[in-house]
């Protein structure tokens, strides 16, 4: 058991928990964009930064990764923490002006306009990496990656080509916090990441429900017969 303070209030936590987990449980508001409770975090968006004092040393850490320690003082809304959040939100709003979630968070922090030229080529992608982590650790295919560096960094399939391993499950689009990932089901086909997938038709209700490649992948992984998987969730 660890004991420490958040904004002056004593809190308790289990060893191995992060400051963010404890703070949220205790009702402290810390915004995040790249953190997901099932996927964890790798500290990309930096919105969850808090100020931590340990002995005489004060520093700024990402609460999503910082493990709790005895005797630390955590400040979630110090002057510099607020400056950092406002700065990051203004920068993200300049990058993704059409993202609802970024607009919403920014206005919550009083950032209504940006002092920079707005980007027109980044869509709504804030490079949080949740899609990549989902594809790798939940779906288990690793069809997505980051390519490039600096401002040119982007999420894509290797070499920007239709991925051989993508099964068209759309989990990346579901997890994307900004709705950047484009997925379209039309005319019996699903299009995602430049690849077209034929959708399976349920033999009982005749409904198009999932890409055949996805069902084949599940069949191979689980040993369940493909004919069984072709029947949609509603008819099972």
């Amino acid at each position: 058991m660890k004991e420490f303070k958040i904004n002056g209030r004593k809190v308790q936590a289990e060893k191995g928990e992060t400051v963010l987990e404890v703070a949220r449980r205790e009702g402290f508001d810390i915004p995040t964009l790249c953190y997901h409770e099932k996927l964890g975090s790798d500290g990309r968006c930096r919105l969850c930064i808090v100020e931590v004092q340990r002995g005489n040393r004060r520093r700024f850490v990402t609460s999503c990764l910082y493990p709790v320690e005895n005797g630390i003082d955590v400040y979630t809304d110090s002057k510099d923490v607020i400056l950092i959040r406002k700065t990051i939100l203004e920068l993200l709003l300049a990058r993704c002006p059409s993202s609802d979630i970024v607009q919403h968070l920014a206005s919550e922090y009083g950032v209504h306009d940006v002092r920079y030229t707005k980007d027109v080529d980044k869509g709504k992608c804030i490079l949080c990496g949740q899609c990549i982590r989902t594809c790798e650790s939940i779906v288990g295919v690793s069809a997505l990656c980051m390519s490039g560096k600096g401002p040119a960094k982007k999420v894509t399939t290797p070499f920007d080509e239709p991925s051989e391993v993508c099964i068209g499950c759309g989990a990346c689009a579901v997890v994307c916090p900004t709705g950047h990932i484009y997925i379209e089901d039309r005319g019996g086909y699903r299009t995602i990441w430049r690849k077209k997938f034929e959708l399976a038709r349920c033999p009982q209700c005749n409904r198009l429900h999932a890409p055949i490649e996805q069902l084949e992948f599940i069949s191979k992984k689980t040993g369940v017969d493909i004919d069984e998987l072709l029947i949609c969730q509603n008819c099972k």
């Binding site: 790798d42 500290g43 990309r44 968006c45 930096r46 919105l47 930064i49 700024f60 850490v61 990402t62 990764l65 910082y66 493990p67 510099d80 400056l83 950092i84 700065t87 990051i88 920068l91 993200l92 300049a94 990058r95 002092r115 920079y116 030229t117 804030i126 490079l127 990656c145 980051m146 490039g148 560096k149 600096g150 401002p151 040119a152 960094k153």
Partner: protein
């Protein structure tokens, strides 16, 4: 084969005897700078000439690592008396080779090839008299310029691998004590105490531990690590083996950028040699200690010099840094305890073991011990590679070793610490250089880049240059560095184009503050330094750009106009002849005039005018 101390000594004796058989040894600097000035032609030419004269058996010509005085390369040093010839082969290679032959055969000293002092009155024969060398204390570079880096027997004959022998007879903890008491701090930039790091890594849980040498030098204008790896790779390797033994690791990695092909090949050859002589591999010196080293080539991303990004890269992942809340000495490569040091740090280790921690701790300042290698570049007369004791002043480096500012112009600032270091103004020239003093001034030691700037450098433009580099080299993982640094660049670029607005300076300061507090790794945290340090020391220059649309250094093209003062112009035609776009008119002995519409503002006329007739408005 298990090598013994006796075998090292017999290699040394055999080698000394072999050397005694030569009437003369000629050392040609084949470091990066000298090779680009034609050192290899001098080497080939001299070898050929010696064969023709029948002297090839009695004179040994060898290629060595960087001697440091790159400005005057190619450098050739002859014989035990160490006659140093500079700029050999630059004017006329045949003449210079026959001059070398004269010195070899009858010890004639060729005056014109000797180094000449700044006052042009004195010529120096030996490097130890030349101020550039006299002010140095070459420890890690002591064998650079002496040995052929590709011959392990040369390293052994100069005392090489004796520190390893000595260390393997010590207890690992005792070695760590020595390193700790020596006061050695990380040479890669952070300045973290090396002994403390080793102790933490030794104490970390895990059967398998790794030691890593960081040779991913990427700062513009820096070539310290490169020269070390090319000039004396065994020094780095010996340090790593000692470190591996002290920490309890049997596997080392050297991470070198692939843009350093010579460093890669020299390291590979050195590792191969060390294995052949039993200095790497199983049961080294019959101690029961095994150690192996693999060379890992980096793809050239600047961020891979950051320790966690480097480790990701070794793991085969993309070179992105990660949070260090759990230290890499506990969980580094493949989550195993990993001790990473810069190549220069590793190269200090054998010297500390050989000469004792007391000796090392006696050099330097109270909190920064030993020496530091700097690459001294920019507007200084003697550009090159120097190794100086910590605590030397900036003035000594720039004026005594560096010989002052090119063209005797006015010194303006020195930029230390690589792209994310800071610019230090004249007021601090007397400051002793060490880790803490540079940080206090808003700059940093970094890995040892030192770029000297004069009155013709615009500090806003300098900030813009480094920001551009950092925008391109940000890995893009975290928001503040990826988005914040490019927005800082946009603002500074706007100011350079005469589009600065009131409030820009405050905006820059605020953005820089937030970026440095919130970025994930050292690159982003220090990326605002070029902006913050130039605003701190040269705020007036920013204000002039923004409010009066003027660039006092005459660099920002949108803000300047070149013209000729009629009362000073003598009509010498020099500017007219040098102008690359022929936009200057005027006959001989008549006042010249610049056609502003066609002028590209390159500044050539300003630089070549001997009568201060060209002015920048």
């Amino acid at each position: 084969m298990n090598i013994s101390l006796e075998q090292l000594d017999s290699i040394t004796a055999r080698y000394t005897e072999k050397m005694a058989g030569y009437g003369k040894v000629v050392r040609i600097c084949c470091g990066t700078g000298c090779v680009s000035s034609g050192a290899l032609n001098v080497y080939e030419g001299l070898k050929k000439a010696l064969i023709e004269k029948g002297l090839s058996d009695s004179v040994l010509v060898k290629q060595t690592g960087c001697h440091g005085l790159c400005e005057r390369g190619p450098i050739v040093v002859l014989g035990e008396e160490e006659i140093l010839y500079q700029s050999v082969g630059k004017r006329n290679i045949e003449d210079d080779i026959s001059a070398l032959l004269n010195t070899i055969t009858d010890d004639t000293i060729v005056e014109r090839m000797l180094y000449q002092g700044e006052d042009k009155t004195k010529r120096y024969i030996s490097p130890k008299d030349i101020p550039f060398y006299a002010g140095q204390n070459r420890i890690v570079l002591s064998l650079n310029g002496i040995i052929d880096a590709e011959d392990i027997e040369e390293y052994i004959s100069q005392g090489g691998y004796r520190a390893l022998y000595k260390a393997l007879l010590m207890e690992p903890e005792e070695i760590i004590d020595w390193i700790e008491k020596s006061g050695l701090r990380g040479r890669g930039g952070g300045g973290f105490p090396t002994g403390t790091k080793w102790r933490s890594c030794r104490a970390a849980h895990g059967d398998v531990k790794y030691v890593v040498a960081n040779g991913d030098e990427g700062d513009p204008g820096a070539f310290m690590d490169r020269s070390l790896m090319e000039g004396n790779p065994h020094g780095v390797i010996e340090g790593m083996i000692i470190g591996g033994y002290a920490i309890g690791s049997n596997q080392g990695f050297i991470y070198v950028r692939d843009e350093y092909p010579l460093a890669v090949s020299r390291l590979l050859k050195a590792i191969e040699g060390a294995k052949e002589y039993g200095l790497l591999g199983k049961n080294i010196f019959d101690s029961g200690f095994d150690f192996d080293i693999k060379v890992f080539r980096g793809g050239g991303a600047f961020v891979c010099g950051e320790s966690t990004a480097l480790m990701s890269s070794i793991e085969g992942k993309s070179g992105e840094p990660r949070a260090k809340y759990i230290h890499t000495v506990e969980k580094g490569i493949w989550e195993r305890p990993t001790n990473l040091n810069n190549v220069e740090t590793w190269a200090c280790v054998p010297h500390i073991i050989n000469k004792g921690w007391e000796w090392f701790a006696s050099i330097g300042t109270s909190h920064s011990k030993g020496t530091k290698v700097f690459s001294l570049v920019g507007k200084v007369k003697n550009t090159g590679l120097i190794e100086v004791p910590m605590g030397i002043t900036l003035r000594e480096i720039i004026y005594d070793l560096g010989g002052g500012i090119q063209g005797d112009k006015q010194f303006k600032a020195v930029q230390t610490g690589g792209p994310s270091g800071g610019c230090i103004p004249e007021a601090y020239l007397e400051m002793p250089v060490d880790f803490d003093s540079l940080t206090k001034l808003g700059s940093m030691m970094g890995s040892g880049g030192m770029i000297v700037m004069d009155e013709r450098n615009c500090m806003v433009d300098v900030a813009r240059y480094f920001l551009k580099f950092l925008v391109e080299e940000s890995c893009g993982k975290c928001t503040p560095c990826r988005e914040g640094v490019r927005r800082m660049y946009e603002i500074v670029d706007r100011i350079c184009h005469g589009e600065g607005k009131k409030g820009d300076i405050q905006h820059l300061e605020e953005l820089a503050h937030a970026v440095s507090l919130s970025s994930l790794c050292g690159l982003g945290q220090s990326a605002p330094n070029p902006v913050l340090s130039t605003i701190k020391y040269f705020r007036d220059e920013y204000t002039l750009h923004i409010e009066e649309k003027k660039c006092p250094a005459g660099v920002c093209k949108a803000l300047i106009r070149f013209s000729i003062l009629p009362d000073k112009c003598t009509g010498c035609m020099r500017c007219k002849a040098e102008c690359p776009v022929q936009c200057i008119k005027g006959e001989k002995k008549e006042v010249h005039e610049i056609d502003s519409d066609r002028c590209i503002k390159c500044g050539t006329c300003y630089d070549v005018c001997r009568f201060d007739a060209v002015i920048i408005e």
